[in-house]
Point group: C2
């Protein structure tokens, strides 16, 4: 009987070609014009699961983008049941002109697959499917019972997942949950992620005149909504990074000495952050290191601004409307609802004269998420990573949000463990996203070993 | 011999149809994709001048959009020579979805022509051509010598006009200049405009990381350019309307009691401004009435904001770039160059940490413009307006800028007088621009009478 690792080696060219096919589907969950593409990606995933030997592979509807479930449950009642999570939707690819190769016409350069979603999370979620295929095609069986749960709305905050998970709780129930949407610290250095931040998304819309006005006819007579929006935004967060919204920090648990020490052990160099991003300087809330701020302190970021004339040259207009998209990353024990209410109340109190300001929520929310110390699935994952990389994983926290982790915890009572093989330098959510083929292959070994380890 | 007024009455249906044809040309000077349309409008104007009986009608090149010249110079050396100015380019029409009928497929409703440029300035600049046609077709002559000067770049600040006017100074030289790009106070109430504001146009671009970043991966670690831009903009002008740029007001001549009294005599009601614009309140620099601010005080307006994700829903991005378009309206004796330098120095001094900020000029500039009290052409215009409307014109100032007025003054030594028949409620520079057909007809009489009056 061929070893499952040899099978992975032999089939790798096919797997890479399949990843390219998968990335080529523009399954952008945020854009209405891509609804059919997200559905197409779901169909692709269900077909791929069935081809791997998983059973009951099917696309299931939600109020929004669909989910895909499958399972293989013949390891016996004495073996644990493991749920593996991932997502097949991707971020929008704009601005297209900053991509070296087209985001949805992926290509391989320098041992990497370049394209939107290659790293987040199409490469990642394909990995456990391939590991399971290798075991089933060589041994005909898996060492544990496995369930797959893939969704198509992670990049918009999984708004329809809570009712879906509740409805299918029986079919999703598991002893442990692993998320294939996750990062290792660096090539050669694994990590166990102890926490994810929560998320709240909102939009501030400032209105003045009923339509755009001639700045010469009325300028100086009525307020400018774009200027008023600037005053509102400047009032939300000081130039030094401290968030100025009254009540914003009320529910934040301050970092204790143990946590600060654990973060300090992670080699997180400001210089690396600057090299990776090209930013001219680090910046953020006073009183915390850069690593503390990114891992474990809440944020408020302006994601977009829109107002008036955005074309070439000059248009002497006093715009009718100005708007800003904002997301806050939250930490324990903040709630998206309480933070939204605090921002809305702050804007209402501080709206400049001569305009009206409205604060509305955008879809997507996540509670902050923290894996308890000593968690069993987390310990197993750490052991496999140590074997595979030859070095113990760092214990880190991540500024990103995966709302479904909270949903799964709330509904199934199980803390998911991040077990993914992307890296932070792979331009996730940015132009020129890529995924390392070396990690694609290593992740397949890792999932196989993890399933073996969990059978002991 | 038919009276020229009867000719105007008889031909009015044709003139209106011609105005519709003219408005249908999308001669948007700000947009590169409309360069050929601006040229097409120039050709249309030259053809229309020739059809009216003007001589030497021709399209002449500049470094940008072309100009159109024509003349009729057979009134005799004892008669004055009058230069009539107007422009055939128009503002961009975006946002298209706010128009009741398409901006470049004009239609007549309620005695008005609806379409981009109907009022500013295609309706206006067609008026003197039609008056001249009526006189030439009925009498075979004009009472004075007339030159026409129409340009195609007024809406972008006439950047190429200074060298053009210098080059063609001999052909443009005149005893008096009248601008067909202008407003009356209200239907039934004429005005003589004593001043125009100057203009400087600029753009502030704030940069952080080299590409858009995942707000969860780096948020809290590096500065957000959109937030930093908000801080910069908020620092340029206080919430109460006072401009905070150091040195901005240095060259402003304070309003004396005579000027404030003249402005106070003009019935400029805040309630009317609010009804016309739909703004919730008046707003602006403390210590001045609304009319003073709009007529005679400098402004700083944000014309547009662009940053990050502007599509539907949420994109959790920390944007690489944020930019704002700004125009300032200037009053005597401010200079566009000195104000630009003051803003650039202010932004350099107050750039928030963690980003870089660049201030660049956009094309277009105008010095503030003031017609001297007792000016002869201004007195003639006032007399014709009083006859025609049965009421003496108000003496007002206008917040808008017509850079070519300054250019003509500097090069030809002649103060142009505004003699146009648009109104401030006609949605100039906004969706649903319109022009009143009643004023279109009245303007034709006004230009005919003006030429007769100037022959005395």
């Amino acid at each position: 009987m061929m070893d499952w690792q040899d099978y992975l080696d032999r089939e790798q060219p096919r797997f890479v070609a399949e990843l390219l096919d998968f990335v080529a589907i523009p399954s952008v969950s945020a854009k209405p014009e891509n609804i059919a593409d997200v559905r197409r990606a779901a169909d692709w995933v269900a077909g791929r699961l069935a081809a791997a030997g998983a059973e009951h592979a099917e696309v299931l509807p939600t109020a929004g983008h669909p989910c895909v479930l499958a399972d293989w449950l013949h390891a016996g009642a004495d073996r644990p049941t493991v749920l593996i999570y991932g997502h097949f939707d991707v971020q929008p690819a704009e601005p297209f002109d900053l991509w070296t190769s087209p985001p949805f016409d992926p290509e391989i350069r320098d041992g990497r697959v370049w394209g939107r979603g290659a790293s987040d999370d199409k490469g990642g979620m394909l990995i456990p499917i391939l590991a399971v295929e290798a075991m089933l095609k060589t041994r005909g069986a898996l060492p544990v019972n496995v369930k797959f749960f893939f969704e198509g709305q992670e990049e918009i905050g999984s708004p329809d997942l809570p009712p879906f998970v509740a409805e299918h709780a029986g079919r999703l129930q598991a002893d442990m949950i692993f998320s294939a949407d996750g990062l290792q610290w660096a090539p050669g250095q694994p990590q166990i992620v102890e926490a994810l931040k929560g998320l709240v998304s909102l939009e501030i819309t400032v209105k003045g005149p009923r339509s755009d006005q001639h700045s010469g006819m009325v300028g100086g007579g009525i307020a400018n909504p774009a200027l008023a929006l600037a005053h509102i935004l400047a009032g939300l967060r000081h130039e030094d990074g401290l968030i100025a919204v009254e009540g914003f920090y009320d529910d934040v648990i301050a970092l204790d000495d143990r946590t600060r020490a654990a973060i300090a052990r992670v080699p997180y160099a400001d210089a690396d952050l600057l090299a990776e991003t090209g930013a001219p300087a680090v910046w953020g809330e006073p009183g915390h290191t850069t690593a503390e701020r990114i891992f474990a302190r809440p944020t408020l970021d302006v994601n977009g601004l829109t107002s008036g004339w955005q074309g070439a040259g000059t248009k002497t207009v006093l715009p009718a409307v100005a708007s800003a998209k904002i997301t806050c990353r939250l930490v324990a024990a903040q709630s998206p609802e309480r933070v939204f209410d605090a921002i809305r109340a702050h804007v209402a109190r501080h709206c400049p004269p001569g305009v009206t300001a409205e604060v509305t929520r955008n879809p997507g929310r996540a509670d902050p998420f923290l894996v308890p110390a000593g968690h069993n699935a987390s310990a197993a994952a750490a052991e496999v990573l140590t074997d595979l990389y030859g070095v113990a994983p760092y214990r880190t926290r991540v500024g990103g949000s995966i709302p479904v982790m909270t949903t799964l915890l709330d509904t199934l009572g199980v803390h998911a463990v991040m077990f993914g093989f992307s890296h932070g330098d792979e331009n996730l959510h940015a132009p020129d996203e890529f995924f390392r083929l070396e990690e694609f292959r290593r992740g397949q070994s890792a999932y196989g070993r993890l399933l073996e380890r969990l059978a002991r």
